[in-house]
Amino acid sequence: MLWVEKYRPKTIKEVVGEKNVVEKVIAWAKGWSAKKKPLLLAGPPGTGKTSLALALANTLGWEVVELNASDQRNWQIIQKIVGEGAFNETISDEGAFLSTNEGKLKLIILDEVDNIHKKEDIGGERALINLIKRKPRQPLILIANEPYNLSAELRNLCEMVVFKRLNTRQIVKVLEKICVAEGIKADKKALEAIAKNSGGDLRAAINDLQAVAEGKYELRLKDVVIAKRTQETDVFKVMQKVFKSYNPAVYNEAMLLDESPEDFIDWIDENLPLEYKGVDLLKGYLVLSRADIFLGRVRRRQFYRLWRYASYLMTVGVQQVKSERKGGWTKYRRPSMWQMLFYTRGKRERLKKVLAKISKYSHLSTKKALAEMLFTVKFLLINEEIEKAAKIAAFYDFSVEDLNFLVGEERAKELEDFIKKHNLHRVDESVDVFDAFTIEKKEEKKEKKEKKKSKEKEEKDEEKSKKKGKKRKKSKDLTLDFFS
């Protein structure tokens, strides 16, 4: 068992953290009524947001429904709970009607709200705002790493509690307790090393401790050989030097980061416009796009030697072009491209399949299918009378999933029902006679077989990589796999 789960605080008293944070949350929970704003717990990873929410529910005897807001599949569940749980009065086990005061409250914890889509209809920020405005009758806690990625409207609808990174002393204390419980005699210096390396992330510290100490009776400083965790704080520090100072030492510091120039340039790209404006912004981008050219040359020819020019340009180069030293503190952001690519991957895969069908049956390349036909097809599927629309769907051999993607679930179901009822299907006059078709058929079968397997696996992998904060492919790869 993972120690982070094993030693997760059971009650609110066990929670490590700032006193006033804990008090604020308790105060919110004690006098909870539907009139209260939902709670927004904000802060870096591993600072106890989820733990506090869970411990709170446990202490007060609330049931917990924990959902990841950025996963659209969860939104069906959320809607259901909102329908049955959050708005209706609670029903007791015997089926008797209880008022909310007597019934058990269900605490809904929505994790990763800063990763939800800004513009989606289902599962987007708008849906969440509407949900909150309806004043759900069950307590709702939102959790986010970057509260300033949320719209001001959403933030204002919530009561925000900010979690700070834990200090070394707090972390060492927890690690000591765990060691005692596990029967490990630990050198304090060893624990301090782990704590320092964690950068205020308790979860990371506990994981590191488990990695070096599990099954041992004694833990000494020399046992603690842990890979240095790269923290976003380090990246932020380097960016601060790039954007705010003129100190060229930043080049060396950037080299020490665990980010390759390929990744670091995304950070600079994302945050450059937050710092530089007007002519500075233009000059910054001129240098940055030069740096990118060197990266491109490396990508094409594997001349890794050229990375140093890219690195120098994207750090010192960007740094030197500004017209004046920038003061103040800027809230930096993670490259939005990474997150968006990650969350829209399913969509892109689907689009690829849809385009392949349009291109096949309308005698076009996939590029042209996208540029010239997709929007028309989509529009007609939505706006034509059902019979014609269904025939169009059948003509292109669209699956239910394709239709869901193109026209939304409701219309897709209408179309699908009509197609089934009238038994519409392609008359394969225009099917290729040779291998392309048979290969595709085979692939389809295989795909069906593996679909289940890979889906499960994918979900797991996604979760894993999400936790590690692993980066997704960049846009260059996107187009490659998109049109290949």
Binding site: R299, L351, H363, F379
Partner: protein, 320 residues
């Protein structure tokens, strides 16, 4: 089942139905009479009937079972010339089916192939010329290497003349039992700019949209059915709104799956056709060309395009 998507429904079944390319059709029909064709090269802008003519030609030559002896490939989709050659080999290996004298391989967007790939294609064409005829299509003849050009009869497809297009569109309206206003028809011709696919798509969209098909309906439909957002993107950036423009760019690239190349091409079209000062256009186009060149050299699309947006957004500040 009849295709309810009009571009398919009204795709010509025979050469006689091909609209607006009289010269081309006449020459092709003489091949049908002789029951023989050389290799052909169809050149012309999109939507002018290249694919349609190739299919109609095959139908006229082979009759009902044309599909058995006709294969269609798209050079810009197939992964490299090796895949194309492999497919061609598979198809060309067997004798024509029925009493057809040869098979036809239609290679669309042949100008998407590099010069090296075209050279390889030329050898393939020679190797299988006993059993197969090739029809290559491209937008520009000049992008096809000379050895291939010299082995093909070249056909130039011109943008469909307005009158021919009008006539055909009216026929479609009649068959679909819809009414179109005169200004609606004019609008269709204008937005299509010689491209039949565009015209028919817009017509069907407008017909699905409302009862009256007038100019307004047509413009409205082309605005919704096409990613007009490029114009918006351009305006946002030019008005100095870098952040919003960038957000929009992200959306296009990720949600619509547009590549940097797509965006650059569409920006080009948008800038050229916009109403801004001509001297300004020259500057923007020059910069865009540089970005495009960098993309072909393997640069990162988002950063290069961000740089372009930054450039656009400073222009407004200088002006103001």
């Amino acid at each position: 089942m009849i295709a309810e998507i009009w571009v398919e429904k009204y795709r010509p079944k025979t050469l006689d139905e091909v609209v607006g390319q009289e010269e081309v059709v006449q020459r092709l029909k003489s091949y049908v009479e002789r029951k023989n064709i050389p290799h052909l090269l169809f050149a012309g802008p999109p939507g002018t009937g290249k694919t349609a003519s190739a299919i109609a030609l095959a139908r006229d030559l082979f009759g009902e079972n044309w599909r058995d002896n006709f294969v269609e490939m798209n050079a810009s989709d197939e992964r490299g010339i090796d895949v194309v050659r492999h497919k061609i080999k598979e198809f060309a290996r067997t004798a024509p089916i029925g009493d057809a004298p040869f098979k036809i391989i239609f290679l669309d967007e042949a100008d998407a192939l590099t010069a090296d790939a075209q050279a390889a294609l030329r050898r393939t064409m020679e190797m299988y010329s006993k059993t197969c005829r090739f029809i290559l299509s491209c937008n520009y003849v000049s992008r096809i290497i000379e050895p291939i050009q010299s082995r093909c009869a070249v056909f130039k497809f011109r943008p469909i003349p307005a009158e021919a297009m009008k006539k055909r569109l009216l026929e479609i309206c009649k068959k679909e039992n819809i009414k179109i206003a005169d200004d609606g028809l004019e609008a269709l011709i204008y937005i299509a700019n010689g491209d039949f696919r565009k015209a028919i798509n817009a017509l069907q969209g407008a017909a699905a949209f409302g009862e009256v098909i007038d100019a307004e309906a047509i413009y409205q439909i082309t605005a919704t059915a096409r990613p007009e957002e490029l114009a918006k993107l351009l305006n946002l950036a030019l008005s100095g709104n870098f952040m919003e423009a960038r957000e929009m760019l992200d959306k296009m690239m990720i949600e619509y799956g547009m590549s940097g190349e797509d965006i650059v091409s569409q920006l080009f079209r948008e800038i050229v056709s916009s109403t801004m000062d001509e001297k300004m256009k020259v500057l923007l186009i020059d910069k865009l060309g540089e970005i495009d060149f960098r993309l072909t050299e393997g640069a990162h699309e988002r950063i290069q395009l961000d740089a372009y947006l930054a450039y656009l957004s400073t222009l407004s500040k200088k002006k103001v």
